[in-house]
Symmetry: C2
Subunit: 341 residues, 2 copies
Amino acid sequence: MAANRRPTLADVAREVGVSAKTVSRVLNEDGPASAQTREQVLAAVTKLGFQPNLMARNIRVGGPDTTIGLVIPDLANPFFGTVARSIEDTVRDRGLTLLMGSSADDPDRERALTDKFLARRVSILMVVPSVGAGHARLKTHRATGLPIVFIDRPGSGLATDSVVSSNRAGAHDGVAHLIAHGHQRIGFVGDLPAKLYTRRERLAGYRSALQEADIDYDRSLVANAHDQKGAEAAAGQLLDLADPPTALFAGNNIMALGIVAELARSGRKHVAVVAFDDVSLADALEPALTVVAQDPEEIGRTAATTALARLDGDHSRARTITVPTRLIVRGSGEQPVPAHT
Amino acid sequence: MAANRRPTLADVAREVGVSAKTVSRVLNEDGPASAQTREQVLAAVTKLGFQPNLMARNIRVGGPDTTIGLVIPDLANPFFGTVARSIEDTVRDRGLTLLMGSSADDPDRERALTDKFLARRVSILMVVPSVGAGHARLKTHRATGLPIVFIDRPGSGLATDSVVSSNRAGAHDGVAHLIAHGHQRIGFVGDLPAKLYTRRERLAGYRSALQEADIDYDRSLVANAHDQKGAEAAAGQLLDLADPPTALFAGNNIMALGIVAELARSGRKHVAVVAFDDVSLADALEPALTVVAQDPEEIGRTAATTALARLDGDHSRARTITVPTRLIVRGSGEQPVPAHT
DNA sequence: CTGAAAGCGCTAACAT
DNA sequence: ATGTTAGCGCTTTCAG
């Protein structure tokens, strides 16, 4: 039961009676090899169960490792999970493997993860940056040719590619939809921290829609939370105001879950709702949930193709690519405004 | 703009005027070092932006790499995403990093991923095995001491640890709940392929509940699908039967989404539903969705602790650990049975 | 077509 | 407290 040593190139070479380099040649289809040696080598490889050590190979070749480092806030969040799958699908035929981790939106954890990825010499680094994480230290890595792409939010202190949703326009459209259906007092439930890029942008879209309709911005209608339970509480508080909102706008998918759960729990079916980001079962709710849908597949695909282009020598200026959102009207935005008393 | 070479240990050593080994010692807190050299080294490290090459280190040290290889069917599926996050949380303080990939339940893709992970000398291999993927070839890796854990389903051809839900008992309880509320014709919408372990087990639980209640098993009430759209169609077909079911049991979370969507779309609110695996917004549906909840956090945690124990020298027999499910009654299982005509 | 030697970046095992 | 040598498993380079 002792841990057997794994076979190495040299073991295979010895078995066949050739040099290590010959085995290497056969396996990598580098240089020529006689049909006979090829077969012998392949047979020995199977017999010994040899699998080349990719780390050793990489070390010698010197280039980056065939991995992509990906930092997202939460592996369990389906939005980021979908982004990740899309990235994977896009890079698969390039032979790249995903190294992943959750930052929990904590800059220290983000940094720990990126450092690990850099120490592993990833080919590409992709990060959903946390508030408070500086990225200036990544400059030297950019200089070595490492493509860095920020996803969902731009990074800070580093000019590099980023891929974001049309947060401001999307939120504007969602709120305008509510206004078009007669709502004047519209609550905003956003995620925390308040400085989060997506929250700021979406709040800006919310405000611009209000302004367009000559509705005064009322700070007391803006609430915050950082998880579903918090969003439930935030929604409840807004609706308990003396002059409560008749409609709510959810700043992201988790906030949407909280708002919908709270309305269902408390039986407030008359409150109109529009959410930023689609959620499953939105269709099956009563009323069905109107959303500003993001396109996580496209976000992932864009991030990946951008990074691959950089890897292939694209030296053009850093870009911020905005992936459009789409208002999907399903009904919850049209809940009637209560008659004035 | 030329790709600068990254600094190496030797560069740092040269900068300070010491040997490479000394730098190594300082960085790894191996052996002693005078306060002065330590400081000089650290300064040089910062100045040059040196980051040790983990691959080179690993190759020299010879042990496995500090990574965990994790193969799941779909990075975007929140069930597996939650399992992954739980694994990550459990191994974080051991310094292990996740190497992940989606198999799409395709044995070839599963194999390609595991091979890549093995070539990277992962410390632990965790796989949600696909139907048709043989695992006998992993035996030699087990023999070298590599912990292998199968998640959600047992592997085939290899005696190793696995962590699964109490599929059979859970499905039994869910179906029994429907029977207790008067349902006699209960449809089963399961995922594909039919040979999938979880599907078989859950179907067995369904059948045992029927049998317990002396209800004949009717094959025509069993439908299959492999995605949400398919589940919608499958549910529709079952309900269009001449003698349709009055209740449906969903074989997993995706099937649940399909069934609920179809019932909402077609306005068949009278059909009772119980789903295997919880879904978000289940609470907010009308009626709220009764589920047999799995515990993905516990599954991930158990898989991780089991693997870590193996890494720490636990040589006891391979175990299959069953994580209990829990029936969460929310209402959808109590939809009344239509009066007989 | 094949092999020998050198070296990738790092650390183990001895020196000193 | 520090340095030297060797070598991890592989590939590059240069000879044959």
